[in-house]
């Protein structure tokens, strides 16, 4: 039983983060509100598209095929590109401005970035709704007779990329301001993370340009048909995975300090190394997306698998830093119990609830991601519903919940408004996770059985296994649960953004900052036990996958994979 002292911050007091956000110039606040609002709109559109898609796959709704794939395209484009990039731009700028303490540098460039991204948003949504359905990867081969669709689709992403570059330039200039003023001679760990993240956003824009500029040129008659789009897409796609994960970990750092006062007990240097590790480990680990490609050699496949084992290093290290810092700080204040110390966290703050459940979702997501990175299992799982089955734990459970948590803390500070119904928002993350568990369990099982990921009618005229439609129905039920819960949260965050009401109370936080004696000699087992459980789960599901693939009534050799 925990007996710790967890003093609550005085009502009405502001953390350093929220105080600095509140003090931002009005022009910065207007820009940031615009970006947060646009990001929420993208999330709402993507959520609606995904929900309808899940219902259609479950057999509850029927569409003409082109309409169904347009909805799927809108889902992917809205969520994976515009929600995740707009929110990253918004978070980069607001955190950089808060770090600077005096607002944004190169503000016109930041506004230009926002304008370009919003223009891209408009173009992409319009062509996705009206053009040939290209799904979110915009493969030109799907519309060889419709260059207009290919061109406008690619143009939308290029505008987004240009906007990202402008936003990143403003973000980098902003975090460098204290040093230019002579107020600091080095970055804080958050400052360095913002600096590296902004650079990575620019590289992501380079990857997007590399993938989509040929499509624009071809549509204008100024270039050859982009036959290599599939390969170029994979480079961007990999960035698309890990950039928001880096942003998530950064937000966890920021929120942990805001909610508990705790900073890393391992020093800023180690945090900087971990953030830099994202940029070091992510690029060489991208090959696992390509294991089914017929042109990939066996040696590249083996090396790609081995390198992919390292893809979780920065995320797990950051998780361990945060959890050990929290636990050690709690124990230094008298907390006891193997996991009992966690009861002292401010769980009635919706940001805390979102962040906590996001960590749970991350562990589940990593477990199944590591089943997929084995090249020998690609012929069982790639291109099946296993992929959306596991990545929604990341996309919805980790990224979306974390970024919504950040908004719950930041948006009231912008205009002094009140957080909408904290008691309701606090309950949503558990509901999101419950829906995701049903969605993921059914989806991953469907993937193991071979259900393809982008098919609306999985019955194949009655030839497919009878379990397939049943599993898709369960996926639809799970999707309904988590989509409704996220929709409630989005509604609450939008109400918060628009709120003019003076808050009656501040969402609770605690003060766990270690005293002069430091964190003491108490152990912190939560982190290592979590990682041990993760590894055990990885072993179990990897073994299940190997056993399944070996039990199939087929012996196969060659053709891009070893089985």
């Amino acid at each position: 039983m925990s007996s710790m002292s967890t003093p609550f911050a005085p009502a009405g007091s502001r953390s350093r983060l929220t105080a600095r956000i509140a003090a931002l110039p009005a022009a910065d606040k207007a820009l940031l509100k615009l970006l947060f609002g646009a990001a929420l709109l993208a999330l709402a559109l993507g959520l609606a598209g995904g929900f309808v898609t899940a219902l259609a796959r479950a057999g509850a709704l029927t569409f003409f095929p082109d309409d169904a794939y347009r909805i799927l395209t809108l889902h992917g484009v809205s969520v994976f590109f515009y929600w995740l990039y707009l929110i990253q731009a918004a978070l980069l700028l607001v955190l950089a401005a808060a770090e600077n303490g005096r607002g944004l540098a190169l503000r016109p460039v930041a506004w230009l970035g926002a304008a370009l991204m919003l223009a891209g948003f408009g173009v992409s949504e319009w062509i996705s709704a009206t053009g040939t359905p290209l799904l979110y990867d915009g493969s030109p081969e799907l519309a060889v007779d419709d260059p207009r669709s290919v061109g406008f689709f690619a143009l939308g992403y290029l505008l987004l990329s240009a906007g990202l570059v402008a936003s990143a330039v403003s973000g980098i200039a902003t975090v460098l301001q204290p040093r230019l003023r002579g107020d600091a001679d080095e970055f804080s760990s958050i400052g360095f993370a913002l600096f590296a993240w902004a650079g990575f956003l620019v590289v992501s824009a380079i990857a997007a340009t590399n993938a989509f500029l040929p499509g624009v040129l071809w549509s204008l008659g100024a270039g050859p048909f982009p036959a290599d789009h599939g390969t170029e897409w994979h480079i961007l796609f990999h960035n698309l995975h890990y950039l928001p994960l880096m942003a998530t970990v950064l937000v966890w750092y920021v929120l942990t300090e805001h909610l508990t006062g705790v900073k890393s007990i391992h020093g800023a240097r180690m945090s900087k190394i971990v953030f830099a590790a994202y940029l070091v480990f992510v690029p060489p680990t991208s090959l696992y997306h390509m294991f089914l490609e017929p042109n990939l050699s066996e040696s590249v496949r083996v090396v790609g698998s081995l390198l992919s084992l390292f893809v979780s290093v920065p995320t797990l290290a950051a998780f361990a830093i945060i959890v050990s810092s929290l636990e050690a700080s709690a124990r230094a204040r008298g907390a006891s119990g193997l996991f009992g110390w966690m009861r002292g966290l401010p769980w009635d703050n919706p940001a805390m609830a979102n962040m906590g459940w996001a960590a749970v979702n991350m562990m589940v997501g990593i477990t199944f991601a590591f089943v997929l990175i084995q090249g020998e299992l690609a012929p069982l799982l790639s291109d099946t519903f296993f992929v959306p089955g596991y990545f929604h734990f990341f996309a919805a459970g980790v990224l979306t919940q974390t970024f919504l948590a950040a908004m719950m803390v930041m948006l009231p500070a912008f205009g002094g408004g009140a957080l909408w119904r904290p008691a309701v928002l606090t309950r949503m993350p558990a509901l999101v996770t419950a829906g995701l568990v049903l969605f993921g369990a059914a989806g991953i099982a469907a993937g193991f059985m071979g259900v393809p990921r982008r098919v609306f009618d999985v019955s194949y005229g009655g030839v497919a296994p009878a379990a397939w439609p049943v599993l898709m129905a369960l996926v639809g039920v799970g999707a309904t649960v988590f989509a409704v819960a996220i929709a409630v949260t989005v509604y609450g965050v939008v109400r918060t953004l628009l709120s003019r009401r003076t808050p009656a109370f501040q969402a609770s936080v605690v003060d766990w900052r270690a005293g002069p004696d430091g964190v003491g000699a108490a152990p912190a087992w939560t982190g290592p036990l979590s990682v041990a459980a993760l590894v055990a789960a990885m072993y179990v599901f990897t073994i299940v996958a190997f056993q399944l693939i070996q039990s199939l009534p087929i012996i196969a050799v060659g053709g891009g994979h070893g089985h």
């Binding site: 080095e186 650079g199 620019v202 590399n210 070091v280 060489p284 042109n295 590249v300």
Partner: protein, 62 residues
């Protein structure tokens, strides 16, 4: 350890440059896009490292 961020930025640039070089000099890998993206990234982080150095010098000069 004031130079942490500089050597970390240079490490990122170096890793990406090596990656770009591997894809450039082993054409059988068949992925020239990696050369453009990670090569461009290496140049960018080299520039950022230069920026950090310049700002550090300026700060020292007062």
């Amino acid at each position: 350890m004031k130079n942490d961020e500089l050597w970390l930025t240079l490490t990122i640039a170096a890793v990406w440059a090596v990656l770009a070089a591997v894809y450039a000099f082993v054409p059988s890998l068949g992925m020239p896009g990696y050369v453009r993206v990670w090569g461009g990234g290496a140049v960018l982080f080299l520039l950022l490292a230069g920026l950090l150095t310049a700002i550090g010098r300026k700060a020292r000069q007062g």
